[in-house]
Symmetry: C2
Subunit: 217 residues, 2 copies
DNA sequence: TAGATTGTTAATCGATTAACAATC
DNA sequence: TAGATTGTTAATCGATTAACAATC
């Protein structure tokens, strides 16, 4: 039974709802209407109701949404009710930064392994997580459930390792390498974080904003 | 004279074109048709031509696009023909990782200052860039042109510092703090990198993919 | 019950794709 | 010239917004 596909545009907005609801929850707010939330989040109330109704009716007419309930439901939708074991391939600065980022654990994302090819890193630990050499990857994957592999190594090696990871049974890649992974006909979901792309988009907007400012004078 | 607004959807795709053209250039490819490029990039040729024609006609009928020329033109569109001076506020793991990331410099993004509130970091340097205490920010901004401020500090402090930065004349923020900055009526462009949002989107797709796989059996 | 607010259908808007005349 | 491929207009598709009946 094929459920209707929900667009990634909607999915991209869900973590933001989750964040705002989490804040409301912390502030002790019990209920919220789509209208109230829309004002806080700077989106239309209509969009909020449409988005949520992709997943079912979480609200109640005349009342609005129960903050705690909605927060938990969105958490479930996003898969935050289960633990995701993560390994990081490439223990450079970024890899270490991610390994040190404890906030992820609260969301259920737990880093269980760090891998690199650099022998100088062997024996080192980051936040209690041992750095292993890449040739131990196969054994490690056999012995542990790995849900997500994070790629923070140079882009030249990314394709080969990504394919190896899929061979080892990993179905999700969080890719920080600055390439589009070539994973042809492979059963894997990929989420890209391209920091320089983000910087370039910012740069475009800087130039545009700057010339708008100059035209104002 | 108001030029027609180009949608952020288009802008988001430009860095990717830039990347592919850079690769073609490295491979010594001289010309490319929208059709060839579309096959490589997995987008429609129509979209490529539409996107590019937002900025002008870079191609030639019967020939296609000159790779080098188009690469450079997109670079200009993205503002990569000028230097962007960056400061980083928050020299934790992520801040240090960004400071160490030399690739940005090739694109014209140069980190010129690092700031933190932690006295333990005072006197430290990352890749030759001195870590300064946050109270030196005002003097620093008076003495240097700062184009972009990167926020890699805890989210609690982000709003206050962001507003201070705008007061000091900064018009662009690259925000890694996990909040939507409250910058009401301020002349500033913001680019958010919300790593946990990205992870949650991945997580959603993992769960979806997993259940699709199970249904196949 | 009256007022509030959802869930959902319909209308609008914008983005993507298709088609083709222009032209190299 | 004939073939190729752009630039651009028109058609389609999808996403967002508006409207309102259902209902708490």
């Amino acid at each position: 039974m094929q459920e209707k596909e929900i667009s990634q545009a909607v999915i991209r907005r869900m973590p933001r709802y989750y964040r705002y609801l989490g804040e409301l929850l912390e502030d002790g707010v019990e209920r919220i209407s789509s209208n109230d939330l829309s004002r806080r989040m700077n989106v239309t109330a209509s969009q909020i109701r449409q988005d949520l109704n992709n997943f079912g009716g979480f609200g109640q007419q005349g009342y609005g949404y129960n903050v705690k309930y909605l927060y938990e439901e969105i958490g479930k939708i996003l898969g935050l009710n289960q633990q995701h074991n993560i390994i990081v391939i490439g223990v450079g600065n970024l890899g270490q930064a991610l390994a040190n980022y404890v906030k992820f654990e609260k969301l259920g994302f737990v880093i269980i392994g760090l891998f690199d090819v650099n022998p100088a890193l062997e024996g080192m630990s980051v936040r209690g997580i041992k750095v292993r050499m890449l040739d131990e990857l196969e054994t490690f994957c056999a012995e542990h459930r790995v849900d997500i592999a994070t790629l923070t190594m140079p882009k030249e090696k990314a394709d080969a390792i990504a394919n190896q990871l899929v061979d080892l049974g990993i179905h999700a890649i969080w890719n920080f390498a600055h390439v589009d992974l070539k994973l042809i006909d492979r059963d894997v979901v990929v989420e890209n974080v391209h920091l320089s792309d983000s910087l370039m988009q910012l740069s475009y907007n800087i130039v545009k904003n700057r010339s708008a400012r100059e035209n104002d004078n």
